[in-house]
């Protein structure tokens, strides 16, 4: 038999009762409908498609997706912890204000970066200031996909946070970004999808 969230009726009851009195104020504050968003099966293909023929600033640009974006882009600028060909080294967690400003950038890609940052607010504040009006493609792992297998939680050891649709939207709007589009990516039912994409400006 598949493992269920609760082993007994008693456990289920305790969970519901301890969730508190669900009056309207509580519901409005605590319960947020998970939206039905379009699903992108392959995050890599999606980002490459969006980068085709564009001048791209890729923040956090190690890995195969960044290589593919570089090939597809009209022009490519990278920012990462370590400098490389076409990549500038910036500690975006502590000194995001040191990010270079490229006037011809058309889109910014921030793929699987936010969850590594201890100071995401400072970074987003700087990004908004330095690249105001540009489309920013943000992807993060989805908090709804959080899983525990046996006695192990499944999470990249370098991550410091999980974002859900609601918390990511709250964070981005708090720093002045407007959400133009949102999608789930990867496998799983929508609210359990591997990750979340938001296009903001």
């Amino acid at each position: 038999m598949a493992a269920t969230q609760f082993k007994t009726v008693s456990e289920l009851r305790d969970s519901i009762v301890s969730a508190g009195h669900m009056d309207r104020e509580w519901l409005a504050k605590m319960l947020h409908k998970v939206p039905e968003l379009p699903v992108v099966k392959d995050r890599s293909k999606y980002l490459v498609e969006k980068s085709k023929g564009k001048v791209v600033l890729d923040i956090g640009c190690t890995g195969p997706i960044s290589k593919a974006i570089r090939l597809a882009a009209k022009a490519y600028y990278g920012v990462d912890q370590v400098a490389a060909d076409g990549v500038v080294a910036v500690d975006i967690d502590h000194r995001p204000d040191q990010m270079p400003v490229y006037g011809d950038v058309e889109i910014v890609v921030l793929s699987e970066v936010l969850e590594h940052l201890a100071n995401p607010g400072y970074f987003l504040m700087a990004l908004k200031q330095l690249y105001a009006g540009k489309d920013v493609y943000i992807t993060v792992p989805n908090a709804g996909a959080y899983a525990v297998r046996e006695d192990c939680e499944v999470v990249n050891k370098d991550h410091v946070s999980w974002y859900s649709y609601t918390t990511l939207k709250t964070l981005l709007t708090r720093y002045g970004f407007e959400i133009k589009e949102a999608r789930w990516y990867g496998a799983g039912q929508p609210y359990r999808s591997e990750g979340l994409i938001m296009v903001v400006t």
């Binding site: 009726v9 289920l12 009851r13 009195h21």
Partner: protein
């Protein structure tokens, strides 16, 4: 028999009734599955595969609409309120064609539900293994009698009339105190706090408190539990299980001596009568005879069985 109960995960009387029923069905040897309508994975289950019957307690997952398994819908709410909230009755009527029958727990409502779909009546039971007299007894709430209100408060469902009734009670029983529990806070708390101060009800209101997690202990601390619900009586009968009196305008079971109308004088008279005769009625026995979840589960399974062959 394998039974799936479809229930939203909300803290309510409906939830308590449904879980107690499922627990008892399990005790009686049936397989049970608890399913939230909007989530595919069951919350808990003791069997695999398709159930023999679906029991709907508010909503049903669309995937099960046409799965060929018999469906029975439980009428937990009362008919007028179901129309009044603008949602429940419409949902019931929409789901009615997919259901074999309805099940309700109060004979007064039967004509309404039966007009929509064939409706069976079962005893409204409580889990008497859970709602019982505690030994040793916890410290009593102050007052003679200590009157307790612990319904879920929302909108017109509040203890205003009981406060007024207690004003009358106190003229006859000066030591009587009212304890208001489960207040949700916010505007409701503010309103009652102002009423208590302005009307000087603090002379007989012993507490105005929020949710009490240990309901059994709370009931054991009271003498009389009073509800202001009408025409239903919801979960107040849990008091009987704990050996305490229960008075509610919606509770008019044949043979029960402490009934009242939804009116201040009538409620006050019932409280006074109940206290003057306290000890003459064995409330625990009343629960065993009239509100035993074991009987409810047996009756339900018998009804399910009519549709599973």
């Amino acid at each position: 028999m394998n039974i799936t109960h479809h229930m939203r995960r909300e803290n309510s009387g409906l939830m308590q009734t449904t879980l107690e029923l499922a627990e008892e069905e399990q005790r009686q040897g049936h397989g049970i599955r608890m399913q939230e309508p909007s989530v595919l994975a069951p919350l808990m289950e003791t069997f695999e595969g398709k159930p023999d019957v679906h029991c709907i307690h508010s909503q049903l997952a669309p995937a099960t609409y046409h799965d060929g398994v018999p469906k029975l819908m439980w009428m937990h709410g009362e008919p007028l309120g179901s129309v009044g909230n603008g949602i429940s009755m419409r949902a019931i009527v929409d789901l009615a064609p997919t259901c074999e029958a309805f099940i309700c727990m109060r004979k007064e409502e039967w004509p309404v539900w039966n007009a929509i779909r064939r409706t069976y009546i079962v005893t409204k039971g409580i889990d008497l293994e859970r709602y019982k007299l505690l030994d040793p007894a916890p410290p009593k709430l102050n007052g003679s009698p200590a009157v307790l209100y612990y319904e879920n408060w929302r909108g017109q469902r509040n203890p205003l009339l009981l406060c007024l009734a207690m004003q009358e009670v106190q003229k006859v029983l000066p030591e009587a105190r009212l304890h208001l529990y489960n207040c949700p806070g916010g505007k409701m708390f503010d309103t009652f706090q102002r009423l208590i101060n302005h009307c000087r009800w603090y002379t007989f209101i012993g507490s105005l408190k929020g949710q009490e997690k240990d309901v059994v202990k709370l009931l054991n601390r009271a003498d009389i539990v009073v509800s202001c619900l009408y025409p239903l009586y919801a979960r107040g009968i849990e008091a009987f299980g704990c050996g305490k009196a229960f008075i509610g305008p919606g509770y008019k079971e044949e043979g029960y001596p402490y009934t009242c109308d939804l009116e201040v004088t009538s409620m006050a008279q019932a409280i006074i009568k109940c206290w003057k005769e306290y000890g003459q009625v064995d409330f625990r026995k009343w629960a065993v005879d009239h509100h035993n979840i074991t009987d409810t589960a047996k009756q339900c399974v018998e009804i399910y069985g009519r549709y599973t062959v």
